[in-house]
Amino acid sequence: MDASTLQTFTSPVVLFFVLGVAAAFARSDLAIPEAIAKGMSLYLMAAIGLKGGVAVSKSGIDGTVLAALGAGIAASFLIPFLAYAVLKGFGRLDRINAGAVAAHYGSVSVVTFVTAVEILDAQSKPPGGYMVAVMATMETPAILTGLLLARGLGSQGGQPKGELLHEVFFNASVVLLLGAFGIGLIGGADGFAEVSPFFEAGFKGVLCIFLLDMGLIAARRMMDARALTWRLAAIAIGLPLLNGFLGTALGTVIGLDVGSAAALGVLCASASYIAVPAAMRFALPEADPGIYLTMSLSLTFPFNILINIGLISATASLLAGIGAAAP
């Protein structure tokens, strides 16, 4: 663990998360009203979408951007296969639950990404604005792969297929992220200037309070959880380590700058706990939320925020160094 990893722990954003975890473990009754938490998550998505769109309106769309989009979509489609194999084999889950969990790990966590951007910015490795679009496109492919693994090609459990695809492609976070991205793209820097006091100045503060809440929720769910096996706990740590490395390497290979490669690594490492759980309640109601939420929210999410983002950032720098040294 190098300096950049440790630096994480003086960021107020991360400290509020730690405060939330600590308060929950101390069984404090501290709680953010759910409407406020929901509102903050929508705010964060709108803000990150806008910001990404404005950035791309400046930089334009080039080969690198397209490569990053392609890499992200491919990763989201493929990671669930890897995850499914591990979850069924080593994790001993049944087909339905292995598929459901696999979908979470192929998809992404918006807040993990946002926190990573803050940390990478502070380390002078800002990821490209187009990574927001990469994130948005990575949300859904994994859901399809996960369902395919859980149900097979044929049956959808009495669930009309069209309704399901619709649910997947028009889910709230995809629509808001891509919509705000589009508005940023159309409005450009001028349009953004008008609204930037709200969306930019407030961003880090809202992220603090949101992470305080996620710390509370993640730790409470951990305490309420009935026996999660040690095997599943190990996967919830090991998988983001592996995916983070693979994603960063992929990013480096396709020629992304250090920050963007690290961001791709974080996206691969992160597991969804907003878009995918809701989709699973809808499409795989037989799967146990006690498994997939506890893994993605109570183990992988804190691990990423507290440790893995730092590791991935260091890895990205290392790989970039190797790349530069190579002829």
């Binding site: 938490a37 309420d224 759980p277 809701a278 309640r281 109601p285 037989e286």
Partner: protein, 102 residues
């Protein structure tokens, strides 16, 4: 003295994500209406849940008042997915005014 008639009041606890499946079933058996009310937290065989609104895995109660025959048809519509989808179904007799509405 006001005249009342007896109807069934049905209460279904369901995941927010599955509300539409429940209300579609209510519409299918031609019950005239339904009402959705919020739920904060709970505990069942699958453990405790709370503060799930952010994750979209929270629950609601769907209430509907109907004549007995339609109520029983609804029970039959819902029964197959009751356990797999984690629904909770209960019903009882209530007196309503102007029962022709239901």
């Amino acid at each position: 003295m006001i005249e009342t008639v007896t109807r069934k009041r049905i209460e279904i606890l369901t995941d927010t994500a599955l509300v539409k499946r429940v209300t579609d079933a209510i519409d299918r058996v031609e019950i005239t209406g339904w009402t959705v009310t919020p739920v904060l937290s709970g505990k069942g065989r699958e453990g405790r849940w709370r503060e799930e609104r952010v994750m979209g895995t929270d629950k609601v109660l769907v209430l509907t008042i109907a004549a007995e025959d339609k109520a029983m048809r609804l029970a039959e519509e819902i029964a197959p997915i009751l356990t797999s989808h984690g629904l909770l179904f209960s019903m009882w007799d209530v007196q309503v005014i102007r029962g022709e509405r239901f």
